[in-house]
Protein backbone atom coordinates (compact mmCIF):
# COMPACT_ATOMS: atom_id res chain seq x y z
CA UNK A 1 0.00 0.00 0.00
CA UNK A 2 2.01 2.93 -1.20
CA UNK A 3 -0.88 5.15 -2.31
CA UNK A 4 -3.85 6.73 -0.69
CA UNK A 5 -6.81 4.51 0.01
CA UNK A 6 -10.45 5.40 0.29
CA UNK A 7 -12.33 3.19 2.70
CA UNK A 8 -16.08 3.49 2.43
CA UNK A 9 -18.15 3.44 5.57
CA UNK A 10 -20.86 0.83 5.88
CA UNK A 11 -24.34 2.20 6.05
CA UNK A 12 -25.25 2.86 9.61
CA UNK A 13 -28.30 1.32 11.19
CA UNK A 14 -29.75 4.30 12.86
CA UNK A 15 -32.59 2.56 14.63
CA UNK A 16 -30.43 1.05 17.28
CA UNK A 17 -28.91 4.39 17.88
CA UNK A 18 -32.20 6.07 18.46
CA UNK A 19 -33.19 3.53 21.05
CA UNK A 20 -29.96 4.38 22.72
CA UNK A 21 -30.79 8.08 22.69
CA UNK A 22 -34.12 7.64 24.40
CA UNK A 23 -32.32 5.74 27.09
CA UNK A 24 -29.81 8.49 27.61
CA UNK A 25 -32.50 11.09 27.89
CA UNK A 26 -34.47 9.15 30.48
CA UNK A 27 -31.55 8.73 32.75
CA UNK A 28 -32.28 11.90 34.73
CA UNK A 29 -33.81 11.14 38.12
CA UNK A 30 -37.12 12.69 39.02
CA UNK A 31 -35.64 14.89 41.74
CA UNK A 32 -33.08 16.16 39.32
CA UNK A 33 -35.80 16.72 36.78
CA UNK A 34 -37.90 18.68 39.21
CA UNK A 35 -34.96 20.75 40.35
CA UNK A 36 -34.18 21.31 36.70
CA UNK A 37 -37.25 23.49 36.41
CA UNK A 38 -36.26 27.02 37.24
CA UNK A 39 -39.72 27.84 38.62
CA UNK A 40 -39.46 25.03 41.13
CA UNK A 41 -36.02 26.09 42.26
CA UNK A 42 -37.17 29.67 42.63
CA UNK A 43 -40.18 28.61 44.64
CA UNK A 44 -37.96 26.59 46.94
CA UNK A 45 -35.74 29.62 47.31
CA UNK A 46 -38.66 31.85 48.19
CA UNK A 47 -39.90 29.34 50.73
CA UNK A 48 -36.47 29.20 52.32
CA UNK A 49 -36.40 32.99 52.56
CA UNK A 50 -39.88 32.94 54.05
CA UNK A 51 -38.82 30.43 56.69
CA UNK A 52 -35.77 32.49 57.54
CA UNK A 53 -37.99 35.53 57.94
CA UNK A 54 -40.42 33.72 60.22
CA UNK A 55 -37.69 32.19 62.37
CA UNK A 56 -35.61 35.33 62.63
CA UNK A 57 -38.60 37.50 63.47
CA UNK A 58 -39.76 35.07 66.14
CA UNK A 59 -36.27 35.04 67.57
CA UNK A 60 -36.05 38.85 67.56
CA UNK A 61 -39.45 39.11 69.16
CA UNK A 62 -39.75 42.81 68.45
CA UNK A 63 -43.01 42.97 66.53
CA UNK A 64 -42.97 46.76 66.43
CA UNK A 65 -39.76 46.66 64.45
CA UNK A 66 -39.85 43.41 62.55
CA UNK A 67 -43.02 41.31 62.62
CA UNK A 68 -43.18 37.63 61.84
CA UNK A 69 -44.16 36.46 58.41
CA UNK A 70 -47.32 34.87 59.76
CA UNK A 71 -48.49 38.14 61.32
CA UNK A 72 -47.68 39.89 58.09
CA UNK A 73 -49.56 37.36 56.02
CA UNK A 74 -52.58 37.56 58.29
CA UNK A 75 -52.63 41.31 57.98
CA UNK A 76 -52.07 41.04 54.24
CA UNK A 77 -55.06 38.75 53.98
CA UNK A 78 -57.25 40.98 56.16
CA UNK A 79 -56.36 44.10 54.26
CA UNK A 80 -56.96 42.36 51.01
CA UNK A 81 -60.33 41.09 52.03
CA UNK A 82 -61.47 44.41 53.42
CA UNK A 83 -60.58 46.02 50.10
CA UNK A 84 -57.94 48.44 51.40
CA UNK A 85 -54.96 46.91 49.67
CA UNK A 86 -56.59 46.29 46.29
CA UNK A 87 -57.64 49.91 46.06
CA UNK A 88 -54.20 51.11 47.18
CA UNK A 89 -52.52 48.85 44.68
CA UNK A 90 -54.78 50.11 41.96
CA UNK A 91 -54.03 53.76 42.78
CA UNK A 92 -50.32 53.07 42.82
CA UNK A 93 -50.28 51.00 39.68
CA UNK A 94 -52.11 53.66 37.72
CA UNK A 95 -49.57 56.31 38.58
CA UNK A 96 -46.70 53.88 38.30
CA UNK A 97 -47.58 52.72 34.85
CA UNK A 98 -48.26 56.23 33.61
CA UNK A 99 -44.92 57.42 34.90
CA UNK A 100 -43.09 54.35 33.69
CA UNK A 101 -44.48 54.56 30.21
CA UNK A 102 -43.88 58.29 30.03
CA UNK A 103 -40.32 57.86 31.29
CA UNK A 104 -39.63 55.10 28.82
CA UNK A 105 -41.03 57.08 25.92
CA UNK A 106 -38.94 60.09 26.89
CA UNK A 107 -35.89 57.87 27.21
CA UNK A 108 -36.62 56.55 23.74
CA UNK A 109 -36.85 60.05 22.32
CA UNK A 110 -33.66 61.17 24.03
CA UNK A 111 -31.68 58.14 22.91
CA UNK A 112 -32.98 58.38 19.37
CA UNK A 113 -31.86 61.98 19.25
CA UNK A 114 -28.58 61.01 20.89
CA UNK A 115 -27.80 58.30 18.39
CA UNK A 116 -28.67 60.46 15.40
CA UNK A 117 -27.09 63.76 16.32
CA UNK A 118 -23.94 64.79 18.04
CA UNK A 119 -25.63 67.46 20.11
CA UNK A 120 -28.17 64.87 21.16
CA UNK A 121 -25.38 62.69 22.47
CA UNK A 122 -23.88 65.53 24.44
CA UNK A 123 -27.27 66.51 25.74
CA UNK A 124 -28.07 63.00 26.91
CA UNK A 125 -24.66 62.47 28.48
CA UNK A 126 -24.67 65.80 30.25
CA UNK A 127 -28.25 65.59 31.46
CA UNK A 128 -27.75 62.06 32.70
CA UNK A 129 -24.63 62.97 34.61
CA UNK A 130 -26.34 66.03 36.06
CA UNK A 131 -29.81 64.85 36.94
CA UNK A 132 -29.43 61.16 37.55
CA UNK A 133 -27.85 61.62 40.99
CA UNK A 134 -30.47 64.16 42.08
CA UNK A 135 -32.94 62.86 44.64
CA UNK A 136 -36.62 63.17 43.85
CA UNK A 137 -37.23 65.69 46.60
CA UNK A 138 -35.06 68.16 44.79
CA UNK A 139 -37.60 68.21 42.01
CA UNK A 140 -40.39 68.95 44.43
CA UNK A 141 -40.41 72.74 44.09
CA UNK A 142 -40.44 72.62 40.32
CA UNK A 143 -43.02 69.86 40.28
CA UNK A 144 -45.22 71.92 42.58
CA UNK A 145 -44.95 74.95 40.36
CA UNK A 146 -45.58 73.07 37.17
CA UNK A 147 -48.06 70.43 38.16
CA UNK A 148 -49.47 71.39 41.51
CA UNK A 149 -50.38 68.69 43.94
CA UNK A 150 -51.53 65.28 42.91
CA UNK A 151 -50.80 62.56 40.48
CA UNK A 152 -49.12 64.65 37.80
CA UNK A 153 -46.36 65.68 40.16
CA UNK A 154 -45.87 62.05 41.08
CA UNK A 155 -45.66 61.15 37.41
CA UNK A 156 -43.08 63.86 36.94
CA UNK A 157 -40.93 62.45 39.70
CA UNK A 158 -41.41 58.95 38.36
CA UNK A 159 -40.24 60.04 34.96
CA UNK A 160 -37.13 61.40 36.60
CA UNK A 161 -36.40 58.06 38.18
CA UNK A 162 -37.11 55.92 35.11
CA UNK A 163 -35.75 58.12 32.39
CA UNK A 164 -32.04 58.15 33.12
CA UNK A 165 -31.67 54.48 33.90
CA UNK A 166 -33.50 53.42 30.77
CA UNK A 167 -31.78 56.03 28.64
CA UNK A 168 -28.32 55.11 29.89
CA UNK A 169 -28.81 51.43 29.22
CA UNK A 170 -30.46 51.97 25.87
CA UNK A 171 -27.80 54.39 24.72
CA UNK A 172 -24.99 52.11 25.81
CA UNK A 173 -26.77 49.25 24.06
CA UNK A 174 -27.06 51.24 20.84
CA UNK A 175 -23.38 52.15 20.93
CA UNK A 176 -22.47 48.51 21.41
CA UNK A 177 -24.32 47.23 18.35
CA UNK A 178 -21.82 45.51 16.10
CA UNK A 179 -20.38 47.49 13.25
CA UNK A 180 -21.54 44.92 10.74
CA UNK A 181 -25.18 45.10 11.81
CA UNK A 182 -25.08 48.87 11.66
CA UNK A 183 -23.65 48.70 8.16
CA UNK A 184 -26.40 46.26 7.19
CA UNK A 185 -28.98 48.75 8.41
CA UNK A 186 -27.37 51.54 6.43
CA UNK A 187 -27.26 49.26 3.44
CA UNK A 188 -31.05 48.91 3.50
CA UNK A 189 -31.27 52.68 3.32
CA UNK A 190 -32.64 52.86 6.83
CA UNK A 191 -32.00 56.17 8.55
CA UNK A 192 -33.26 58.06 11.54
CA UNK A 193 -36.19 56.57 13.31
CA UNK A 194 -36.66 53.50 11.16
CA UNK A 195 -32.97 52.69 11.48
CA UNK A 196 -33.25 52.90 15.23
CA UNK A 197 -36.45 50.91 15.50
CA UNK A 198 -35.62 48.20 12.99
CA UNK A 199 -31.92 47.70 13.63
CA UNK A 200 -30.66 49.27 16.83
CA UNK A 201 -33.56 48.45 19.11
CA UNK A 202 -33.66 44.72 18.42
CA UNK A 203 -29.88 44.48 18.28
CA UNK A 204 -29.54 46.28 21.61
CA UNK A 205 -32.53 44.54 23.12
CA UNK A 206 -30.66 42.80 25.93
CA UNK A 207 -29.40 46.16 27.20
CA UNK A 208 -32.77 47.81 26.74
CA UNK A 209 -34.47 45.07 28.68
CA UNK A 210 -32.01 45.46 31.52
CA UNK A 211 -32.70 49.17 31.51
CA UNK A 212 -36.43 48.54 31.59
CA UNK A 213 -36.05 46.18 34.52
CA UNK A 214 -33.97 48.65 36.48
CA UNK A 215 -36.30 51.46 35.53
CA UNK A 216 -39.27 49.44 36.72
CA UNK A 217 -37.68 48.76 40.05
CA UNK A 218 -36.70 52.35 40.54
CA UNK A 219 -40.13 53.56 39.57
CA UNK A 220 -41.48 51.49 42.45
CA UNK A 221 -38.92 52.75 44.87
CA UNK A 222 -39.46 56.32 43.91
CA UNK A 223 -43.20 56.12 43.88
CA UNK A 224 -43.35 54.65 47.34
CA UNK A 225 -40.94 57.23 48.66
CA UNK A 226 -42.58 60.04 46.73
CA UNK A 227 -46.08 59.34 47.93
CA UNK A 228 -44.79 60.33 51.33
CA UNK A 229 -43.17 63.48 50.12
CA UNK A 230 -45.89 64.63 47.81
CA UNK A 231 -48.64 63.54 50.04
CA UNK A 232 -52.07 62.63 48.98
CA UNK A 233 -55.40 64.20 49.08
CA UNK A 234 -56.74 61.92 51.73
CA UNK A 235 -58.57 58.77 50.91
CA UNK A 236 -56.88 58.17 47.60
CA UNK A 237 -53.34 57.32 48.63
CA UNK A 238 -51.48 54.40 47.14
CA UNK A 239 -49.28 51.68 48.52
CA UNK A 240 -46.59 54.09 49.61
CA UNK A 241 -49.12 56.02 51.58
CA UNK A 242 -50.50 52.80 53.01
CA UNK A 243 -47.04 51.93 54.27
CA UNK A 244 -46.39 55.37 55.64
CA UNK A 245 -49.75 55.68 57.33
CA UNK A 246 -49.38 52.35 59.06
CA UNK A 247 -45.88 53.21 60.10
CA UNK A 248 -47.20 56.32 61.69
CA UNK A 249 -49.83 54.26 63.42
CA UNK A 250 -47.14 51.77 64.38
CA UNK A 251 -49.16 49.03 62.73
CA UNK A 252 -45.97 47.32 61.65
CA UNK A 253 -47.49 44.08 60.31
CA UNK A 254 -49.50 46.25 57.94
CA UNK A 255 -46.30 48.04 56.91
CA UNK A 256 -44.72 44.74 56.08
CA UNK A 257 -47.87 43.58 54.37
CA UNK A 258 -47.50 46.62 52.15
CA UNK A 259 -43.85 45.85 51.49
CA UNK A 260 -44.72 42.22 50.82
CA UNK A 261 -47.26 43.40 48.29
CA UNK A 262 -44.50 45.35 46.56
CA UNK A 263 -42.32 42.24 46.57
CA UNK A 264 -45.08 40.05 45.22
CA UNK A 265 -45.90 42.47 42.45
CA UNK A 266 -42.17 42.66 41.69
CA UNK A 267 -41.96 38.89 41.42
CA UNK A 268 -45.03 38.71 39.24
CA UNK A 269 -43.79 41.37 36.87
CA UNK A 270 -40.32 39.86 36.69
CA UNK A 271 -41.47 36.32 36.14
CA UNK A 272 -44.56 36.88 34.06
CA UNK A 273 -43.75 39.99 32.10
CA UNK A 274 -40.02 40.33 31.77
CA UNK A 275 -39.19 36.63 31.60
CA UNK A 276 -41.84 36.13 28.95
CA UNK A 277 -40.49 38.98 26.91
CA UNK A 278 -37.02 37.56 27.31
CA UNK A 279 -38.04 34.09 26.25
CA UNK A 280 -39.74 35.39 23.14
CA UNK A 281 -36.96 37.73 22.16
CA UNK A 282 -33.36 37.52 23.15
CA UNK A 283 -33.50 33.87 24.13
CA UNK A 284 -35.19 32.88 20.92
CA UNK A 285 -32.72 34.96 18.96
CA UNK A 286 -29.73 33.34 20.65
CA UNK A 287 -28.58 36.65 22.15
CA UNK A 288 -28.54 35.18 25.60
CA UNK A 289 -27.72 31.75 26.85
Amino acid sequence: MTSPQIILAADVTTNRQHANVAEVEQRLGSLELILGISAVRKTVLIIVLAVIWQVYASYLDNPLLFPTLSDTLTTLYDRFVDGTLPSRIWTTLQVLITGYVAGTVLAAILTILAINTRIGTDFLETMTAMFNPLPAISLLPLALIWFGLGASSLVFVLIHSVLWAVALNTHAGFLGVSRTLRMVGGNYGLTGLSYVMRILVPAAFPSILTGLKIGWAFAWRTLIAAELVFGVSSGQGGLGWFIFENRNLLDIPAVFAGLLTVIIIGLIVENLVFQTIERHTIQKWGMKE
Partner: protein
Protein backbone atom coordinates in the same frame (compact mmCIF):
# COMPACT_ATOMS: atom_id res chain seq x y z
CA UNK B 1 -4.14 32.10 -24.27
CA UNK B 2 -3.09 35.34 -22.67
CA UNK B 3 -2.76 37.75 -25.52
CA UNK B 4 -0.54 40.50 -24.22
CA UNK B 5 0.97 41.64 -21.00
CA UNK B 6 1.56 45.28 -21.62
CA UNK B 7 4.61 46.19 -19.69
CA UNK B 8 7.11 49.02 -19.63
CA UNK B 9 4.67 51.15 -21.46
CA UNK B 10 4.37 54.85 -20.83
CA UNK B 11 2.71 55.10 -17.42
CA UNK B 12 0.06 57.46 -18.64
CA UNK B 13 -0.92 55.10 -21.39
CA UNK B 14 -2.00 52.28 -19.09
CA UNK B 15 -4.85 52.26 -16.70
CA UNK B 16 -5.58 55.99 -16.59
CA UNK B 17 -6.42 55.94 -20.26
CA UNK B 18 -8.99 53.25 -19.87
CA UNK B 19 -10.57 55.16 -17.03
CA UNK B 20 -10.69 58.49 -18.77
CA UNK B 21 -12.29 56.97 -21.79
CA UNK B 22 -15.00 55.34 -19.76
CA UNK B 23 -15.56 58.13 -17.29
CA UNK B 24 -18.59 59.56 -18.92
CA UNK B 25 -20.59 56.37 -19.16
CA UNK B 26 -19.19 54.32 -16.27
CA UNK B 27 -21.61 53.08 -13.65
CA UNK B 28 -18.99 53.41 -10.95
CA UNK B 29 -15.81 55.45 -11.02
CA UNK B 30 -13.29 55.22 -8.23
CA UNK B 31 -10.79 57.97 -8.77
CA UNK B 32 -7.43 58.14 -6.96
CA UNK B 33 -9.03 57.01 -3.76
CA UNK B 34 -7.04 56.84 -0.55
CA UNK B 35 -8.73 55.26 2.43
CA UNK B 36 -7.50 55.56 5.97
CA UNK B 37 -8.56 54.34 9.38
CA UNK B 38 -7.97 56.58 12.31
CA UNK B 39 -7.21 54.74 15.54
CA UNK B 40 -6.36 56.48 18.81
CA UNK B 41 -2.65 55.91 18.37
CA UNK B 42 -2.09 55.70 14.65
CA UNK B 43 -3.39 56.27 11.16
CA UNK B 44 -3.69 53.16 9.02
CA UNK B 45 -3.71 53.63 5.28
CA UNK B 46 -5.73 50.80 3.83
CA UNK B 47 -5.62 51.76 0.16
CA UNK B 48 -3.74 54.45 -1.61
CA UNK B 49 -4.51 56.21 -4.83
CA UNK B 50 -6.71 53.45 -6.20
CA UNK B 51 -8.55 54.14 -9.43
CA UNK B 52 -10.83 51.91 -11.40
CA UNK B 53 -14.17 52.04 -13.05
CA UNK B 54 -16.93 49.54 -13.33
CA UNK B 55 -19.28 49.44 -16.28
CA UNK B 56 -22.86 48.40 -16.20
CA UNK B 57 -23.15 44.60 -16.12
CA UNK B 58 -19.52 44.15 -15.22
CA UNK B 59 -18.60 41.25 -13.03
CA UNK B 60 -15.69 42.97 -11.38
CA UNK B 61 -13.36 41.12 -9.05
CA UNK B 62 -11.00 42.63 -6.49
CA UNK B 63 -8.08 40.33 -5.90
CA UNK B 64 -5.22 40.88 -3.52
CA UNK B 65 -3.47 39.57 -0.44
CA UNK B 66 -5.03 39.55 2.99
CA UNK B 67 -5.14 43.00 4.55
CA UNK B 68 -4.57 44.87 1.32
CA UNK B 69 -7.75 46.84 1.63
CA UNK B 70 -10.31 44.96 -0.45
CA UNK B 71 -12.99 45.07 2.22
CA UNK B 72 -12.17 48.69 2.85
CA UNK B 73 -12.55 49.58 -0.81
CA UNK B 74 -15.86 47.76 -0.92
CA UNK B 75 -17.00 49.64 2.17
CA UNK B 76 -16.07 52.91 0.54
CA UNK B 77 -18.08 52.02 -2.56
CA UNK B 78 -20.89 50.98 -0.25
CA UNK B 79 -20.80 54.45 1.27
CA UNK B 80 -19.69 53.44 4.75
CA UNK B 81 -16.38 55.29 4.60
CA UNK B 82 -15.44 58.56 2.99
CA UNK B 83 -12.14 58.62 1.12
CA UNK B 84 -9.41 60.77 2.59
CA UNK B 85 -8.67 61.87 -0.93
CA UNK B 86 -10.04 61.03 -4.31
CA UNK B 87 -13.64 60.47 -5.19
CA UNK B 88 -16.16 57.74 -5.84
CA UNK B 89 -19.03 58.33 -8.23
CA UNK B 90 -21.99 56.20 -9.13
CA UNK B 91 -23.86 57.22 -12.24
CA UNK B 92 -21.92 60.46 -12.04
CA UNK B 93 -23.18 61.27 -8.55
CA UNK B 94 -20.73 61.12 -5.66
CA UNK B 95 -21.24 58.33 -3.14
CA UNK B 96 -22.21 59.90 0.15
CA UNK B 97 -24.05 57.32 2.15
CA UNK B 98 -25.03 53.69 2.03
CA UNK B 99 -28.11 52.67 0.15
CA UNK B 100 -30.02 49.71 -1.15
CA UNK B 101 -28.88 50.40 -4.70
CA UNK B 102 -25.61 48.84 -3.59
CA UNK B 103 -26.45 45.68 -1.73
CA UNK B 104 -23.54 44.35 0.23
CA UNK B 105 -22.67 40.84 1.26
CA UNK B 106 -20.22 41.28 4.12
CA UNK B 107 -17.29 39.10 4.98
CA UNK B 108 -18.39 38.74 8.61
CA UNK B 109 -20.63 35.95 9.84
CA UNK B 110 -22.67 38.27 12.04
CA UNK B 111 -24.28 40.15 9.20
CA UNK B 112 -27.66 38.46 9.57
CA UNK B 113 -30.19 40.09 11.84
CA UNK B 114 -30.32 37.63 14.71
CA UNK B 115 -33.93 38.49 15.53
CA UNK B 116 -35.21 37.40 12.16
CA UNK B 117 -35.52 33.95 10.68
CA UNK B 118 -33.75 33.09 7.47
CA UNK B 119 -36.88 33.91 5.50
CA UNK B 120 -37.43 37.19 7.31
CA UNK B 121 -33.80 38.12 6.86
CA UNK B 122 -34.11 37.75 3.11
CA UNK B 123 -37.52 39.41 2.99
CA UNK B 124 -36.67 42.36 5.17
CA UNK B 125 -34.68 44.50 2.70
CA UNK B 126 -37.16 43.63 -0.02
CA UNK B 127 -39.89 45.14 2.09
CA UNK B 128 -38.12 48.14 3.57
CA UNK B 129 -35.87 49.10 0.69
CA UNK B 130 -37.56 47.72 -2.41
CA UNK B 131 -41.03 48.38 -1.03
CA UNK B 132 -42.32 45.08 -2.34
CA UNK B 133 -45.64 43.92 -0.93
CA UNK B 134 -45.25 41.24 1.73
CA UNK B 135 -46.59 38.41 -0.36
CA UNK B 136 -44.33 39.17 -3.28
CA UNK B 137 -41.34 39.65 -1.02
CA UNK B 138 -41.98 36.30 0.55
CA UNK B 139 -42.25 34.55 -2.77
CA UNK B 140 -39.06 36.10 -4.02
CA UNK B 141 -37.24 35.40 -0.76
CA UNK B 142 -38.25 31.76 -0.87
CA UNK B 143 -37.06 31.47 -4.42
CA UNK B 144 -33.61 32.72 -3.52
CA UNK B 145 -33.44 30.63 -0.37
CA UNK B 146 -34.05 27.64 -2.61
CA UNK B 147 -31.28 28.78 -4.91
CA UNK B 148 -28.79 28.76 -2.02
CA UNK B 149 -30.08 25.31 -0.92
CA UNK B 150 -31.43 26.40 2.43
CA UNK B 151 -35.07 25.45 2.00
CA UNK B 152 -34.82 23.26 5.05
CA UNK B 153 -33.62 26.16 7.22
CA UNK B 154 -36.17 28.73 6.03
CA UNK B 155 -37.64 29.25 9.47
CA UNK B 156 -34.44 28.89 11.50
CA UNK B 157 -32.89 31.74 13.41
CA UNK B 158 -29.33 32.62 12.37
CA UNK B 159 -27.75 31.41 15.59
CA UNK B 160 -28.74 27.86 14.70
CA UNK B 161 -26.95 27.92 11.36
CA UNK B 162 -23.45 26.81 10.48
CA UNK B 163 -20.93 29.33 9.23
CA UNK B 164 -21.44 28.44 5.60
CA UNK B 165 -25.20 28.49 5.94
CA UNK B 166 -25.12 32.00 7.35
CA UNK B 167 -23.08 33.21 4.44
CA UNK B 168 -25.48 31.61 2.01
CA UNK B 169 -28.39 33.44 3.61
CA UNK B 170 -26.49 36.67 3.13
CA UNK B 171 -25.89 35.79 -0.50
CA UNK B 172 -29.57 35.02 -1.00
CA UNK B 173 -30.46 38.31 0.64
CA UNK B 174 -28.10 40.23 -1.60
CA UNK B 175 -29.15 38.55 -4.80
CA UNK B 176 -32.88 38.69 -4.07
CA UNK B 177 -32.62 42.46 -3.95
CA UNK B 178 -31.43 42.56 -7.57
CA UNK B 179 -29.61 45.80 -6.89
CA UNK B 180 -27.87 48.08 -9.38
CA UNK B 181 -24.59 46.91 -7.95
CA UNK B 182 -24.06 43.86 -5.82
CA UNK B 183 -21.02 44.15 -3.58
CA UNK B 184 -19.80 40.82 -2.31
CA UNK B 185 -16.93 40.43 0.13
CA UNK B 186 -15.61 36.88 -0.08
CA UNK B 187 -19.11 35.49 -0.10
CA UNK B 188 -18.09 31.94 -0.91
CA UNK B 189 -15.07 31.62 1.37
CA UNK B 190 -16.92 29.55 3.95
CA UNK B 191 -18.42 27.16 1.45
CA UNK B 192 -17.39 23.69 0.46
CA UNK B 193 -16.29 22.92 -3.06
CA UNK B 194 -19.65 21.73 -4.33
CA UNK B 195 -21.79 24.37 -2.71
CA UNK B 196 -19.30 26.94 -3.86
CA UNK B 197 -19.56 25.76 -7.44
CA UNK B 198 -23.31 25.78 -7.20
CA UNK B 199 -23.31 29.30 -5.83
CA UNK B 200 -20.96 30.49 -8.56
CA UNK B 201 -23.26 28.95 -11.13
CA UNK B 202 -26.28 30.57 -9.53
CA UNK B 203 -24.54 33.89 -9.62
CA UNK B 204 -23.66 33.52 -13.27
CA UNK B 205 -27.11 32.26 -14.11
CA UNK B 206 -28.64 35.22 -12.34
CA UNK B 207 -26.29 37.49 -14.21
CA UNK B 208 -27.41 35.96 -17.49
CA UNK B 209 -30.99 36.68 -16.50
CA UNK B 210 -30.71 40.18 -15.16
CA UNK B 211 -27.29 41.48 -16.18
CA UNK B 212 -26.75 43.20 -12.87
CA UNK B 213 -23.39 44.62 -11.92
CA UNK B 214 -21.36 42.90 -9.28
CA UNK B 215 -18.15 43.75 -7.46
CA UNK B 216 -16.73 40.69 -5.91
CA UNK B 217 -13.87 40.13 -3.52
CA UNK B 218 -12.32 36.71 -3.55
CA UNK B 219 -9.10 35.04 -2.57
CA UNK B 220 -9.31 32.36 -5.14
CA UNK B 221 -7.79 33.21 -8.49
CA UNK B 222 -9.71 30.35 -10.07
CA UNK B 223 -12.94 31.69 -8.71
CA UNK B 224 -12.07 35.14 -9.95
CA UNK B 225 -11.52 33.81 -13.43
CA UNK B 226 -14.69 31.80 -13.30
CA UNK B 227 -17.07 34.52 -12.24
CA UNK B 228 -15.59 37.76 -13.51
CA UNK B 229 -15.11 39.59 -16.72
CA UNK B 230 -12.63 42.01 -15.17
CA UNK B 231 -10.17 41.56 -12.33
CA UNK B 232 -8.39 44.29 -10.41
CA UNK B 233 -5.16 43.15 -8.80
CA UNK B 234 -4.12 44.99 -5.68
CA UNK B 235 -0.69 45.09 -4.11
CA UNK B 236 -0.26 44.47 -0.41
CA UNK B 237 -0.48 47.04 2.30
CA UNK B 238 -1.38 49.73 1.55
CA UNK B 239 -3.41 48.51 -1.36
CA UNK B 240 -2.46 50.02 -4.70
CA UNK B 241 -3.59 48.96 -8.11
CA UNK B 242 -1.11 46.53 -9.54
CA UNK B 243 -2.83 45.55 -12.70
CA UNK B 244 -6.16 45.03 -14.27
CA UNK B 245 -7.23 41.97 -16.23
CA UNK B 246 -9.89 42.56 -18.82
CA UNK B 247 -11.91 40.28 -21.00
CA UNK B 248 -11.56 37.55 -18.45
CA UNK B 249 -14.61 35.69 -19.71
CA UNK B 250 -12.73 34.92 -22.90
CA UNK B 251 -10.47 32.66 -20.92
CA UNK B 252 -13.18 30.21 -20.27
CA UNK B 253 -14.08 29.29 -23.79
CA UNK B 254 -11.02 27.28 -24.70
CA UNK B 255 -9.80 25.03 -21.98
CA UNK B 256 -6.29 25.61 -20.73
CA UNK B 257 -6.37 29.34 -21.24
CA UNK B 258 -8.02 29.75 -17.89
CA UNK B 259 -5.26 27.75 -16.22
CA UNK B 260 -2.65 29.83 -17.99
CA UNK B 261 -4.33 33.03 -16.92
CA UNK B 262 -4.47 31.73 -13.39
CA UNK B 263 -0.76 31.07 -13.46
CA UNK B 264 -0.03 34.50 -14.90
CA UNK B 265 -2.09 36.26 -12.31
CA UNK B 266 -0.54 34.20 -9.58
CA UNK B 267 2.93 35.07 -10.71
CA UNK B 268 2.05 38.69 -11.05
CA UNK B 269 0.61 38.88 -7.57
CA UNK B 270 3.13 36.82 -5.72
CA UNK B 271 6.34 36.61 -7.68
CA UNK B 272 7.72 39.83 -6.26
CA UNK B 273 10.55 39.15 -3.89
CA UNK B 274 10.14 40.18 -0.31
CA UNK B 275 6.36 40.04 -0.36
CA UNK B 276 5.70 40.69 3.27
CA UNK B 277 3.18 42.88 4.94
Amino acid sequence: MLQAIQQNIDPTAGLPDVKTASEARSLLTVDKVTLRYKTPNLLITATEDVSFSVERSDRFVLLGPSGCGKSTLLKAVGGYMAPVSGSIHINGRPVKKPGADRMMVFQEFDQLLPWKTVLENVMFPLIVARKLPRREAEARAKEYIDKVKLTRATDSYPHTLSGGMKQRVAIARGMAMQPDILLMDEPFAALDALTRRQMQDELLQLWEDTRFTVIFVTHSIAEAIKVSNRILLLSPHPGRVKAEVIDVERARQEDGSAAALERDIHNLLFSESGHRE
